[in-house]
């Protein structure tokens, strides 16, 4: 235990690691700040959810309708007074090119108009929600994806063989009405992309950089400092390699937790999700260009938790990968460089596989692909064709890397330390 603590301490004395940690946290705050212009509108959406509930049903639509009509009446009183005009909807109001609203209305009135426009958007979208969702054809979407990616032959057939599961899940969402819930609209706010693409991807890549640096630094510390002869001839001996791996794992998990927790606290302090924690992630409002439902019936908080857990597993996988490299390359910076090359090779490797080959699809089953596509984790997609895509990917890589680690630990015990 004491040895483990000493190893952990080494990482926290590294100015590079601490410096990068500071830069990454600042960058995440900047990402939030850069997108903070949507926070007021998001607050309004929370207020709608608070007032009407998150489940879209007739009762909710009636309440919304009443409020919307009353508000439109107020808008028309105002526009009649100022412009001698009335409007059927806020959409019509904003489409009127004959005047510039800011020239005729004060800030308070403009804010009111904006709020009513938002209510209008949510009311009408909710009103036609059933129709909109029923118009979605998961098979057509999958076929489009197959076409977009240029997939053919056996690979395309493999995807098509899963269509039964695609429609089954779609029917489930339709029947249990997962899609009929209020949620920050993807078309308006792009919050899913902001949280799970920009923020999560940034955090994952930051964690990845720190993971590789920390692991290489800790495992190669004695070789870098020239203390390996004393360290590995001590009573602890070659078992120290295992201590170092454990220390790297603990530090990487701690650093990831630190970055993630600070990032998420900042994110949820700025962008309110107060009313949406338990709303299904497959809400129609959350649908984006590359996804429209999750493979599982998950609420937003469950989805977020699953993503966090998956991110932790990825941190562990990247620690294991780096440890294997560091077993054979006894220079921290060289390990980092080789890891980046390896990351690039895994990413680029898929490009050289014929798109008719099943191996092309298997090329998606990598931690690298997971890091780069965090926004579609657990989401229905043709190219990742199975609901267990994430589980299979991390499971298979974990077993392979675990075998690699066991081999490294064993070979390190038996190698000459010149």
């Amino acid at each position: 235990m004491r040895v483990l603590l000493y190893e952990i301490r080494k990482a926290f004395h590294s100015p590079i690691i601490l410096g990068l940690l500071g830069v990454f946290i600042a960058f995440n705050f900047f990402l939030i700040y850069e997108n903070s212009f949507i926070k007021d509108d998001l607050r309004k959406v929370n207020q709608f959810a608070d007032k009407y509930g998150t489940e879209i049903n007739d009762e909710m639509l009636d309440k919304m309708k009443q409020d919307y009509e009353a508000q439109m009446k107020k808008v028309n009183e105002k526009t009649n007074e100022v412009l001698s005009k009335t409007y059927e909807s806020m959409d019509e109001f904003y489409s009127d090119q004959s005047f510039y609203p800011a020239d005729h209305f004060n800030e308070k009135e403009l804010l009111l108009f904006n709020e009513i426009a938002l209510l209008e958007y949510y009311y009408f979208t909710s009103l036609h929600l059933e129709e909109s969702f029923q118009n979605i054809d998961p098979i057509a979407i999958a076929e489009l994806e197959i076409k977009q990616y240029g997939i053919s032959g056996q690979a395309a057939e493999l995807i098509r063989s899963q269509y039964g599961k695609f429609t089954e899940r779609y029917q489930e969402v339709l029947e249990n009405k997962e899609y009929k819930h209020l949620f920050p609209s993807q078309r308006v706010f792009e919050t899913h992309l902001l949280l799970f693409k920009k923020m999560f991807k940034a955090i994952l890549i930051e964690s990845l950089i720190l993971t590789v640096l920390v692991t290489a630094y800790i495992i190669n510390f004695e070789f870098d400092k020239g203390t390996y002869l004393i360290a590995y001839s001590s009573k602890r001996g070659r078992g120290l390699w295992g201590d170092k791996l454990r220390a790297a794992l603990i530090i990487n998990v701690l650093l990831f937790t630190f970055i993630l927790v600070l990032g998420l606290i900042a994110y949820f302090s700025v962008f309110s999700y107060k009313e949406f924690w338990h709303v299904p992630i497959s809400s129609f409002f959350n649908a984006g260009k590359e996804w429209f439902m999750s493979w599982w019936n998950l609420s937003f908080i469950e989805y977020l938790t699953s993503c966090i857990l998956l991110a932790y597993v990825l941190t562990i996988l990247f620690t294991m990968m780096t440890a294997i490299l560091a077993r054979y390359v006894r220079n921290s910076y060289l390990v980092f460089f080789i890891f980046l090359c390896l990351f690039g090779v895994i990413f680029a490797n898929q490009g050289i596989i014929p798109r008719s080959n099943i191996a092309f699809l298997l090329g998606y089953f990598t931690p690298v692909n997971l890091v780069l596509n965090s926004f579609v984790w657990f989401m229905h997609r043709a190219v990742t064709f199975t609901p267990y895509f994430e589980v299979i990917t991390v499971g298979v890589w974990f077993v392979i890397l675990l075998l690699g680690i066991l081999f490294c630990a064993r070979s390190f015990r038996k190698c000459d330390l010149k």
Binding site: K225, Y228, L229, I230, A231, Y232, K235, K414
Partner: protein, 292 residues
Amino acid sequence: MLTVNSVSKDFGNFPVLQDIQLEFSNGVYGLLAPNGAGKTTLIKMLTTLLFPTKGEILYEGQTIFSMGERYRDLIGYLPQNFGYYKNYNPNQYLQYLAALKGISKQAANEKIPQLLKLVALEDAIKKKMGKFSGGMIQRVGIAQAMLNDPKILILDEPTAGLDPKERVRFRNLLSDLARDRIVILSTHIVSDVESIANEIIMIKDKRVLYKDSIQSICQQLDGKVYEIEMDFDQVKAFRKNFLSLSERQDNGRMNIRFIAEENIRPEWKRVKPTLEDVFLYQYQDKEVEQKV
């Protein structure tokens, strides 16, 4: 008893040591050979850092590699190029090594100040090691080797980087430490072992050349070491025919110590051979060997 039993070590296809046979019981052993002769390789095998290609190393009849941490718990090792953490002070550094050596924190807290006092570093206990001189670093190295009160103390070129005063202090310190334990001191500096070693081990051509007391080793040159005084202009010609061991100026003439095995002349003064003479004789260049 530590036994090196027919040990050979190859690096790839290159043999470094061949059929090494040694036995160590309590006492000081000077491992004497020029750089590159395989001393460090032998020491790294004794410290389990390298594995023999052939043969085995036994401690009390058990192979040291199967003993694992039980064996490593018995050894204290000061490597030739011993790294350290520049940002640590000696106390922090020794605390870390104490943890690696499985010494409890309480025992380490008692032992470290004693050892730092022994190596005269008690005043530098809180000074960063990055600011230490070569001699101070070496003394920290000796302290770390002694942390676990080892039964086998292995020191590889321990006086490298020490000034003459520190070298003398180190030898005295080693004499104190040598009681009731095996001390293996590897060096290419003869004077480091001459006064303290019970036995000298010389390695030549990848094999053990001698393992004997200094007196016995020196006996082989009995009657072969001479001294002579001559003018400066005669020295060059003399060197062509004899192995010169040392040369010094004395009242405008050269005093030469050399080896001769035949054609002894009466004007040569016969002297008692020293370990350094044997060392120079054994590790002379091939070209010079032919002269002798």
